[in-house]
């Protein structure tokens, strides 16, 4: 209840489809965050996230080896090992946690991991200035 009371607004950073279906988010700085955070800082966060997602979806030797091996085992191997994508998603979750702790929480903001929103948006929750509890 207290947390609900403190939310002032939510900003949604939408996906950027100019490079196709690869998971990328728009780096345009939303106007609602102007008073809260430095533009450079925010764009840096989004750019880093975009790089991580690009790494997850990269068509490289690792993904090919994984794909071929999986095919040979009739994809039974997916029951045992963690895919490359899942490993990178864990990295992303850690990065977001770290960013929240260091940069966004002290400014009364909270980034939600896009995977919890179906990789559609980066949800930035803006808390009211005077609320100290989260």
């Amino acid at each position: 209840m207290r947390q609900q009371a403190a939310i002032a607004a939510k900003v949604f950073i939408q996906r950027d489809y100019t490079n196709g279906t690869v998971c990328q988010f728009q780096t345009k700085f939303p106007s609602e965050l102007e008073t809260r955070i430095d533009k450079q800082q925010f764009e840096e966060t989004v750019r880093m996230l975009n790089n991580l997602y690009a790494e997850a979806e990269k068509l490289g030797s690792q993904s090919y080896i994984e794909g071929c091996l999986a095919c040979l085992t009739a994809y039974a191997i997916f029951l045992c090992i963690e895919t490359h994508y899942e490993k990178v998603l864990k990295k992303i979750a850690k990065y977001i946690q770290e960013q929240n702790d260091k940069i966004y929480a002290p400014r009364g903001l909270l980034l939600t991991d896009p995977i919890e929103r179906g990789l559609r948006v980066i949800e930035v929750t803006i808390f009211e200035d005077r609320s100290l509890t989260r």
Binding site: A5, G20, A74
Partner: protein, 510 residues
């Protein structure tokens, strides 16, 4: 008035929050019962098994037919043909057959049981944010905006992103909404009844390997059953050979008919993979050169080899719907609005829910029903009473009738769309929650009526399931003046009418 609406909506979302009070619609049961998994309240038309591990479409009859055909044919082959062939030719035959069979079953089950790449529906906050953005974009273009699309340039090609009214998102490129499963699926290929699931981004490679291996298996069985019969008939004659091994006849028939369709399908999908297209795009001719000289596929990597590798050996994205995760009880996404007129002052994040078109339409209908009740009771129409109202503005009657007629006209004219899972968007909820002396709802309509004007057009595609007969749509159009007369009739002191009056006064003050 439209600008006023968006302004007041902005007021809704970004102002101070006051405490939330419980309402009849709130569902506290989630906190009391043990935690539910997300698949249990999945909005699409899917079936889940093994506590959410397995996900299939609603109609699975044909899938069982596929299973039976494969199992019976292979079973007969291993029992009746393989012993002879293993002895006469080589034991490698049943071994290869066995490997092929296991591969076919593995890929079939993977295709059928996995999430094809379903996009989870937008949360209420997201949907409200999108609506607001669209409102702002369409602010001055008129009463009814065009269907919602966004244009994106991908690799030099202009691609239109459509808005999905069911899922309340702008569909990513190559995504499509499956009307059978009622989900938006990424890189939607087609809905395959034979595997009992959609074929999309996450299970396309399994599907392709399934039909490819099934082609090999079918040809394999067909060839070796024919060989078996020929070898037997060298010994005992053709008719005796058939009598000795009757199962072979059945196998030959099944394989003969399967070969044409399965091999054909494999060839087709090989072509699709090498050109990096989906069945959906191919059927529509999205990237066909017939459409235009400069029309090309922006997703293709340029050469066949890379396209194949990308489709079959590319990274496998994880499921976005997290079906085995637990529902978080602290997100009151479905919390409805609370008390009425005070909402103007007590703006909160709930306003974004309160401004939800569900509530708006429900309240609008309430007002209209309230308005028509005296119409049925009293037959007198006294326009003279109207002269008391124009203190607020002589345009009131006209504007009110326009407002009241607006949502009504959208109902019977709704365009038919593929069945959605939100038919309860407006009407059904409205009837359930319209108590005769419902003060809580009576209070609600004052504010949302304004939104109703702005939002009613968005409802058109979804209004189809709602029977227009639920609302006396005809009467307000014809008897708008009569209605207003009855509103302002001081004789009716029913709280229902008081609130309707209050609502209309608020409307006129915009």
């Amino acid at each position: 008035m439209h600008l006023g609406v968006s302004e007041s909506m902005r007021e809704c979302e970004y102002s101070q929050i006051s405490t939330r009070s419980s309402t009849p619609m709130e569902t506290p049961y989630k906190k009391r019962t043990p935690k539910k998994r997300k698949w249990e309240s999945f909005p699409g038309r899917n079936k889940f098994y093994c506590d959410g591990r397995i996900m299939m479409a609603k109609q699975t009859g044909v899938f069982y037919l596929t299973l039976v055909l494969i199992l019976v044919t292979c079973g007969l082959f291993f029992i009746f043909d393989c012993p002879f062939l293993a002895l006469q030719l080589t034991p490698a035959i049943p071994v290869i057959g066995g490997v092929l069979f296991l591969f076919v079953m593995g890929t079939l089950l993977r295709t059928s049981f996995s999430d094809p790449g379903v996009l989870p529906r937008a949360t209420q906050d997201e949907a409200a944010d999108l609506e607001r953005q669209i409102d702002v974009a369409n602010g001055s273009t008129g009463y009814r905006p065009p269907p919602r699309t966004k244009e994106v340039v991908i690799n030099g090609q202009t691609v239109k992103l459509k808005y999905c009214f069911t899922c309340k998102i702008f569909r990513p490129p190559r995504a499509s909404h499956c009307s059978l499963c009622d989900n938006c699926v990424e890189r939607f290929d087609h809905h395959c009844p034979w595997v009992g699931n959609c074929v999309g981004r996450r299970n396309y490679r399994f599907f392709y390997m399934f039909i490819l291996s099934l082609s090999f298996l079918t040809i394999f069985i067909f060839a070796f059953v024919i060989t078996h019969i020929i070898l037997r008939s060298h010994r005992n004659g053709f008719l005796n050979a058939l009598k000795d091994s009757p199962a072979s006849v059945l196998e030959v028939v099944v394989c003969f008919f399967s070969v044409w369709s399965i091999v054909g399908l494999s060839g087709f999908h090989t072509y699709l993979i090498s050109s990096n297209q989906t069945t959906n795009e191919d059927i529509k001719g999205s990237w066909s050169s017939k459409r235009g000289k400069d029309n090309y596929n922006p997703y293709s990597y340029g050469n066949i080899f890379t396209n194949c590798c990308a489709a079959l050996c590319g990274p496998l994205p994880p499921s976005l719907i997290d079906r085995r995760g637990f529902i978080q009880s602290d997100t009151p996404q479905l919390a409805p609005p609370t008390n009425g007129i005070t909402m103007y002052g007590a703006t909160q994040s709930q306003q974004s829910h309160m401004c939800d078109q569900d509530q708006c339409i429900q309240s609008t209908k309430f007002v209209l029903q309230a308005a028509t009740t005296p119409l049925l009771q009293q037959q007198s129409s006294d326009p003279v009473i109207l002269t008391t109202s124009p203190e607020n503005g002589s345009s009131l009657p006209g504007r009110t009738s326009l407002t009241l007629a607006g949502p009504c006209t959208s109902l019977p004219l709704g365009q038919p769309t593929p069945p959605t899972s939100t038919p309860s968007l407006s009407c059904h909820e409205a009837t359930d929650l319209l108590p005769i002396h419902g003060h809580s709802h009576a209070h609600n309509h004052s504010h949302p009526l304004q939104e109703a004007v702005a939002h009613h057009h968005f409802l058109t595609p979804e209004e189809v399931p709602s029977p227009p007969g639920m609302l006396p749509c005809g009467s307000p159009l014809g008897h708008s003046h009569t209605m207003q007369a009855s509103f302002y009739n001081p004789a009716s002191q029913d709280s229902l009418h008081e609130d309707s009056v209050r609502g209309l006064v608020k409307l006129s003050s915009v």
